[in-house]
Symmetry: C3
Subunit: 156 residues, 3 copies
């Protein structure tokens, strides 16, 4: 039986939604699937060498479980975004959740193909030197060629 194939379009760059593409891609690769991830829009943030700027915002997200209920006006005070980010990171570390960097390395070592959307790279003036090695650059048309053959294709 041929290996299953999965394509992911990763468009988000905040800490919470940065996890799903990397968790799903690394899990599928571990199952022997062929996986490609197309990073576009804010998803390009996940290809930066330095991921320390990946943050999470408690604002406009009433579904985020918080240690204490936080009124909207409090969540907007200076420093709250940084605080929410470090709280989330500490919680993940304590619970043994792999870091984004670790998951990304697992993906690359398992031959998950990472493709940076050339159009968004140009639009946001990203530099190729900002990104990790081992990735490719391409457009939606090339990616759809692969996506059309997959068993699972997700827009995240």
């Amino acid at each position: 039986m041929a290996a299953k194939k999965m394509a992911i379009i990763a468009t988000k760059g905040a800490l919470d939604m940065a996890y799903p593409p990397l968790i799903l891609a690394s899990t599928a690769a571990a199952l022997g699937w062929e996986v490609q991830v197309f990073f576009t829009f804010y998803g390009l943030q996940l290809l930066r060498k330095d991921l320390s700027g990946i943050a999470i915002s408690p604002i406009g997200n009433p579904a985020m479980p918080m240690p204490v209920p936080m009124p909207v006006v409090v969540s907007m005070l200076p420093g709250m975004e940084a605080m929410a980010t470090s709280m989330m990171k500490a919680k993940m570390k304590k619970k043994g959740v792999a870091s984004l960097e670790e998951l990304r390395t697992v993906c690359l070592e398992a031959d998950v193909k990472f493709i940076a959307c050339q159009m968004t790279v140009d639009l946001f003036d990203f530099q190729k030197s900002d990104f990790v090695d081992g990735i490719e650059y391409g457009g939606a048309a090339t990616f759809l060629g692969f996506a059309g053959q997959t068993d699972v294709c997700l827009f995240i």
Copy 2:
């Protein structure tokens, strides 16, 4: 002809994005499809027995149709999140849209399989007693096994 299959990864827990997984799952089940929904990240909020805390935020969402145009600074005043939530719920009720609880019951009665992401349950310290009965617990690997056989697989 074999029944169609659909897999949904439900990651959002705000009022607006809580609807799509439940509407699509119940509709597909009504068509005779085999459906599994994997609830992860904020999506776990949809499995709580008590859904009254599901809210909607007008902040950072310029696309939300509002009865009156609302400047960003107003949308951040204390109570506006609760107000937007109750306005949306009232509108849905008036228009005959089923509640989240009703749609969830329809899904469970139609044998839609609900799976709570064990990793997120642990991460956010959810208690199994918080959740409705009749659900399973699992991980991404198991879910991908089903997803790889589906006709439609959506990340919401």
Copy 3:
């Protein structure tokens, strides 16, 4: 070989997430794929004749590349949403990215089928006269009938 098929559920109406459904649909149509887009929730905003109200919010989106780092409290000042929107539009124009109107026209001319979700039209009191010509109205059940036959189905 039969043409590939793609189904897109377009649920977002902000400037950034308005692009992916239209870019993917027009690209797939150019490759000869049969494409249907189901516009629901905020995605209905993309069917309005006048798209000038489509905006982007810097609030609650720490992943948005900004010309200058902007504290959350600043991003909430009156006028910042309009400023972020016009900055993004100016950047896209300068970089040669097609406008939403142009991409939408390309889709319609390439026989991409646009379907407005009747339930959301009713819920948000949209008027058919608000929308562009050449679209259809339907529900989730009909759309799933097509989605179940596709090679790629995305929830955006």
